[in-house]
């Protein structure tokens, strides 16, 4: 079974989902993430779903579950890189992800969590 890697950047944990999510993978991810938050004392969790094309209600609920779970451990969750088609699907499914914060890309997500970004060289902030 695929396991989704969890990367640590400073006080933030980064989960970049690159595979098709099976229900089992999702459950394993929730477990791993909870352990890692406690182990690292992370303050924020970023879930990057740039590569995710298809979501269903189960995965939609996963975001909300991870967010509430992390909040209990004093870590804030940001979902970044959602594709337009995915956003439309979630809205049509009636899932508005109430407690989850969102950002357009990873950089904006990091900024939202107040995580230190690499020193802004020339043009670094104009890269939009």
């Amino acid at each position: 079974m695929d396991r989704v890697p969890i990367l640590k950047i400073g006080e933030v944990l980064l989960v970049s989902i690159q595979v098709d999510l099976q229900d089992q993978t999702v459950l394993a991810l929730q477990e791993d993430l909870a352990e890692r938050i406690v182990a690292t004392g992370a303050r924020g969790v970023i879930i990057d779903i740039t590569a995710v094309d298809i979501v269903d209600s189960f995965i939609g609920r996963m975001f909300a579950t991870i967010a509430s779970m992390s909040r209990l451990m004093d870590a804030e969750t940001v979902v970044v890189g959602m594709r337009p088609a995915v956003a439309i699907t979630l809205v049509e499914l009636g899932l508005s992800l109430g407690g989850v914060r969102t950002a357009l890309d990873l950089e904006k997500g990091m900024r939202l969590l107040g995580a230190p970004l690499p020193a802004a060289g020339p043009g670094a902030l104009d890269g939009r």
Partner: protein
């Protein structure tokens, strides 16, 4: 043997009296066109058809039958675009029967009469082809216009660095909401904007359904990390919204687009005159 002799009389007639028949055909059609097409234009167009009909209907040439259908299709499509009625278009074909019948009567050839009946039904089929193509062409025109209208009414404009504006004009139904949502979200990704302003000054009325559509759009944008501001709420609309009990919740609403822009500039921390990269 029968195949050839069946239409022997008529094909001889069509061949020998080509100029008279074609002339009469053009004359009848020109009368229905009321000067919108010149006789010379018609003569070229119908002359081509005449040759094809001779080969396809009387000669039984399959290749010519295909060409004939294509030529008829082309003529009906151009007629549909020029605004001719379906009757006028179909008459262009049916008039050939009258022209031929007149000649058959004049020749007093009974065998030709029998052939004419078969010929007539073939021409009727051709007339139906023009009618079908005509209808299809008009449908196409309508579909194209619908699409253009949809595109026209849903522009997404960049108001400032990081701020998008969506001036909504006309009633919001589910089809249009879908288009608005899609184009807004696409542009969000392209421009990396943090705030989008939905301006509903041009929306004539807001009922629960329209409000629902607006909320959906706002939710979808929010899922991608963009805040939405709804602006252009006129007094009557504010009253309707309250009367209907629609809740816009945490969504920021402003009376005018200018207020919304000021709010957005404030939020993004942009200051007019200090545009990045300007």
């Amino acid at each position: 043997m029968t195949g050839a002799s069946d239409s022997a009389h008529l094909s001889t007639l069509l061949e020998s009296e080509r100029e008279t028949l074609l002339g009469r055909w053009v004359e009848i059609v020109a009368a229905t066109m009321r000067g919108r097409l010149t006789a010379d234009e018609l003569r070229v167009e119908l002359g081509e058809l005449y040759a094809l009909i001779e080969r396809a209907v009387l000669g039984g040439d399959d290749e010519a039958a295909g060409e004939l259908r294509a030529a008829l299709g082309e003529i009906s499509r151009s007629r549909a675009r020029q605004g001719f009625t379906p009757t006028e278009t179909a008459t262009s074909v049916f008039a050939l029967k009258q022209a031929v019948l007149e000649r058959v009567e004049a020749s007093a050839d009974t065998a030709a009469y029998a052939e004419f009946a078969a010929f007539s039904s073939r021409v009727d089929e051709l007339g139906l082809v023009t009618f079908e193509t005509y209808a299809a062409a008009r449908e196409q025109v309508i579909a194209d216009q619908m699409e253009q209208l949809l595109e026209l009414s849903t522009p997404v404009v960049k108001l400032w660095d990081g701020i998008l504006g969506v001036p909504l004009v006309g009633t919001l139904d589910s089809a249009r909401t879908q288009v608005v949502m899609e184009s807004l979200l696409e542009r969000l990704v392209e421009t990396g904007s943090q705030i989008a302003i939905l301006d509903i000054t041009g929306v004539p009325a807001v009922d629960t359904e329209v409000a629902q559509h607006l909320l959906k759009t706002v939710m979808a944008a929010r899922l991608m990390g963009t805040e939405c501001v709804i602006s252009g709420i006129r007094p009557q609309i504010a009253q309707t919204i309250v009367a209907l009990g629609v809740e816009f919740g945490e969504i920021a609403t402003k009376a005018t687009l200018a207020d919304a822009l000021a709010y957005a500039l404030d939020k993004t921390g942009a200051h007019p005159g200090e545009r990045t990269g300007a």
